[in-house]
């Protein structure tokens, strides 16, 4: 019983063993928050679709250090983003800028939705028209349909 309890407690403590690795600037949590916020806007170029905030790749760690260094020097968030764009290109920004070459990227999904709704609307209207144009059944045909549905009359072929 005791050993089980001890095991559980140790299990719960396990994350702490790792926590130490991530400690960078515990002395200044405000700065660290700004570093991480800004890092979430910067793409890790050696990873696939990750920000440098999410990545522990060496380059990502270096870039985070640069961000931290520059924030410490009093540079603004925008200045640092500009610096990164100048070195690594706009691709380094995790969300692409909204400009004429990226309009399709930003608004393409919306465009597809509009087109899809349009197509749906047209198809529904055509269908309604077809229903209206369908010839009315005679009483005889109605009776046959009813018996077919109730399964009394078998079809000529199966």
């Amino acid at each position: 019983m005791h050993s089980k309890l001890l095991f559980l407690i140790l299990l719960l403590l396990l994350p702490l063993a790792h926590a130490e690795q991530a400690v960078i600037a515990k002395d200044d949590p405000v700065l660290e928050k700004r570093v991480m916020d800004l890092s979430a806007h910067l793409r890790c170029l050696v990873c696939q679709n990750q920000t440098i905030a999410d990545s522990n790749a060496e380059l990502a760690v270096d870039l985070k250090n640069q961000v931290r260094e520059k924030l410490r020097q009093g540079q603004s968030e925008q200045e640092i983003l500009d610096y990164m764009v100048k070195r690594y290109g706009e691709f380094v920004l995790f969300s692409p800028l909204v400009k004429s070459t990226t309009w399709l990227l930003w608004f393409g999904p919306l465009l597809l939705l509009v087109v899809g709704l349009g197509v749906l609307f047209i198809i529904l209207r055509q269908r309604r028209k077809m229903m209206q144009q369908a010839p009315a059944l005679s009483a005889d045909e109605h009776a046959r349909a009813a018996s077919l549905l109730s399964g009394k009359e078998s079809e000529g072929h199966s």
């Binding site: 170029l45 050696v46 696939q48 060496e58 380059l59 270096d62 870039l63 640069q66 764009v85 100048k86 070195r87 690594y88 290109g89 706009e90 691709f91």
Partner: protein
């Protein structure tokens, strides 16, 4: 029949786009520094920590900056090509020893040959970031006015050197 043409057309366009996408290399990010002034730096030399080197020292000549490190396997593959290129005396090759241990870097040059006129020693990798380096090796060609004219990402190959690097250097030298 006709009703299948539109979906088929959309499908074919989609396939073409995806096909093109497959041939692109997502790791190759074009550098915005092309045709811009090379970022300045002043770093200690690898062989002699008391002396420094910077791009200003090389104004007026066409030169090549190769970013390398002893821990980088691809650099070691590329290394004999650089030694060979250095031997041809077509263009001075300078090294940027990136995030390396000084002794390891020197040891590599001793055993595999030293193609570099000089190597700058970038222990922290800050100059690398300034130059937009995101992986080693990378190779820059800088012209007489100090503009970066080309960047090779990844290892050079004999084809790249023959078909791209050497013609570019000759063109920049006005030969």
């Amino acid at each position: 029949m006709n009703r299948f043409l539109l979906p088929l057309g959309v499908f074919i366009v989609l396939v073409i786009f995806l096909w093109i996408g497959l041939t692109l290399n997502p790791r190759e990010v074009p550098s915005p520094l092309i045709n811009k002034i090379a970022p300045t730096f002043r770093l200690p030399q690898l062989h002699n920590a008391d002396k420094t080197i910077g791009p200003e020292d090389l104004r007026g000549k066409v030169w090549v900056l190769n970013v390398w490190a002893s821990w980088c396997v691809t650099c070691r593959q590329e290394h004999p090509l650089l030694v060979e290129l250095g031997r041809q005396n077509l263009v001075p090759i300078y090294g940027l020893n990136y995030k390396d241990n000084r002794d390891d870097g020197l040891a590599l040059l001793k055993t595999s040959g030293d193609p570099y006129v000089l190597s700058a020693y970038d222990r922290e990798g800050n100059v690398g970031i300034d130059w937009g380096v995101y992986g080693v090796p990378e190779t820059f060609v800088i012209d007489k006015s100090g503009l970066i004219r080309h960047k090779f990402i990844g290892a050079l190959t004999p084809e790249l050197i023959q078909n791209k690097l050497i013609p570019l250097v000759k063109e920049l030298n006005g030969a």
